[in-house]
């Protein structure tokens, strides 16, 4: 753990420096514009100061985003429509529901594919085809269709999350459930083990490392799905809604704070799965 702190901090430091430099570079034209109109002459230090404190910068400086996040998390009640925590929760709930549904669907399909020849031949091509359709194209349709039958709110977004997250789970679990080699399967046969015993005692535990890897990818995909699901309907709540509203009104600071929040959310969710993975595999003697 400690050994990784120094490299991580230096990377973060480097990124911050690059970010500030990019803010100067991208926001300078607007600063010059303003200066010309008011007849001022910009020194280097006033230029830099201006590019780091504009109200609607092309690229907000890190501290501006930081301040916005602070304002909208710590200083706002979480029930407030302007609280970023409230919006994060809206997105997170859809993410988690979609993730659970996607994982369930993925595991079910994988079991079917491994145990049923017909499913093996017929399902996998559809699973792959489903992922070649751009989610941005299909998301509005899912939302509209579900709205038409009276389903709105959490579930349509969760469906899109599920649509994105079941795929890595299917692929990973099929591989994991098939990971026992012929000898291990023969061994089960010599003990006259039933199909379900072979599944619970051999295939399932053998697939655990694959499952966790898939879950991490699935969780990240699920978050993307929930955010994408908030875009087409002009939803009023959620990180996706914040992104959309921010871009309507040129509120770049708001966009970036929503983006960072989404990234932090993704990192924590994947991190939590990583911890569960480590504990589980350790207890199974596999790590």
């Amino acid at each position: 753990m400690r050994r990784s702190v120094v490299p991580v901090l230096s990377v973060v430091g480097f990124l911050l420096v690059m970010w500030y430099a990019a803010a100067v570079w991208l926001n300078a034209p607007w600063a010059y514009d303003k200066a010309t109109r008011s007849g001022e002459v910009l020194t280097t230090s006033t230029l830099v100061a201006d590019t780091w404190s504009q109200e609607k910068p092309k690229l907000p400086a890190p501290h501006q985003v930081g301040k916005e996040i602070w304002k909208t998390t710590v200083e706002k009640k979480i029930t407030s429509k302007r609280s970023l925590i409230y919006h994060s929760w809206v997105t997170l709930s859809a993410t988690l529901l979609g993730f659970v549904m996607g994982t369930g669907l993925g595991i079910l399909l994988a079991v079917g594919i491994v145990y049923n020849r017909t499913m093996d031949m017929s399902v996998m091509p559809w699973v792959i085809a489903s992922q070649t359709i751009p989610i941005l194209a299909i998301a509005p349709m899912i939302i509209v269709v579900l709205n038409a039958v009276g389903i709105s709110g959490l579930l349509p977004k969760a469906m899109i999350s599920m649509y994105l997250s079941f795929f890595p789970v299917v692929v990973g679990m099929v591989k994991g459930l098939r990971s026992p080699d012929q000898m291990q399967l023969d061994q089960m046969r010599t003990w006259f083990a039933s199909k379900s015993q072979t599944f619970w005692k051999l295939r399932l535990p053998a697939s655990m490392p694959y499952l966790f890897t898939s879950l991490k990818i699935g969780m990240a995909a699920s978050l993307v799905g929930a955010i994408v699901g908030e875009l087409p309907t002009g939803a009023v709540a959620g990180l996706g809604a914040r992104l959309l509203a921010g871009s309507y009104y040129g509120q770049t600071i708001q966009i970036w704070s929503a983006l960072l929040m989404a990234a932090a959310l993704a990192a924590s969710l994947v991190g939590i799965i990583g911890i569960i993975q480590r504990v589980t595999l350790k207890r199974m003697g596999m790590a």
């Binding site: 000898m183 003990w191 006259f192 051999l202 003697g285 596999m286």
Partner: protein, 261 residues
């Protein structure tokens, strides 16, 4: 003395694999009688069908001709009755189970009561001299210890027949000598019938009451040697003239099989 009962009996056994490169005649007209309490070694060059023969006895492979009976019934029925323990070349322990857990696995599958499981695990661990390693994971054990654990696992449900396919093939000679000695003790104490595949002439002669010499293309039995060696065999029996004579005969048998090519 009463006539010993036949445990495994093969009559005119034939097995041809259909492969993409045409048929492979793995076993041709194999006849063999293994009696209760025998220790039978199968020896022969690579590809002569030793593994295939063992797998037929275990109902892991279906013969294309002839018949095999195990304990007087078909291999499938014998497998259903859990009549044999099979030891593969690789230990094949589950990495997510402890040594104890691995040995318990067949017992769980066979529905042995929990209280009895613990007792049996202890007994077989003792038998292979691994007492005290029950809570260790496989990766914490050496290759030889893992192989002993896999033998313990095959012994745990107390089948009368033990089928072993080159169980010590991957181990160095010193460990192998030691395990051979242990295996003989175990066989003496338990009175099991053992079918044992090996590539090593000394190993075959040291362990067996009966040595089956095989040769390839098509896989067949070329010689069956009943060992004149006494049941009690210290390691240095391998320097006695009787031992060397049997070894010589095995070598001759192997050479004869090769000259047919």
């Amino acid at each position: 003395m009463t006539e010993k009962q036949s445990v495994i009996s093969a009559r005119n056994l034939d097995l041809t694999f259909q492969t993409n490169d045409g048929p492979v005649h793995a076993l041709k007209d194999v006849n063999l009688e293994i009696k209760d309490g025998d220790f039978v070694s199968f020896i022969g060059p690579s590809g002569c069908g030793k593994t295939t023969f063992l797998r037929v006895m275990a109902d892991l492979e279906q013969p294309t001709g002839g018949t095999v009976t195990v304990n007087g019934v078909s291999p499938e029925e014998a497998r259903r009755q859990r009549a044999y323990g099979y030891v593969f070349q690789a230990a094949g322990l589950y990495p997510w189970r402890t040594i104890g857990g691995n040995i318990r696995l067949p017992l769980e599958i066979m529905g042995v009561p929990k209280s009895e499981q613990a007792e049996r695990v202890n007994r077989v661990l003792e038998l292979v001299e691994l007492a005290g390693f029950e809570k260790k994971f496989p990766w914490q054990l050496s290759g030889g210890m893992q192989q002993r654990a896999s033998i313990a696992r095959a012994l745990s449900f107390d089948a009368d027949i033990l089928l072993m396919d080159e169980p010590f093939g991957a181990l160095d000679e010193i460990v192998r000598d030691h395990l051979n000695e242990q295996l003989l003790h175990l066989w003496e104490r338990t009175g099991k019938t053992i079918a044992f595949v090996t590539h090593s002439i000394p190993e075959a002669v040291y362990l067996s009451t009966k040595i089956v010499v095989m040769s390839p293309r098509p896989g067949r039995i070329t010689d069956v040697i009943d060992s004149p060696l006494p049941k009690d065999r210290p390691l240095d029996i391998r320097d006695t003239p009787e031992f060397l004579e049997v070894a010589h005969r095995v070598r001759e048998g192997l050479r004869a099989g090769h000259q047919d090519d």
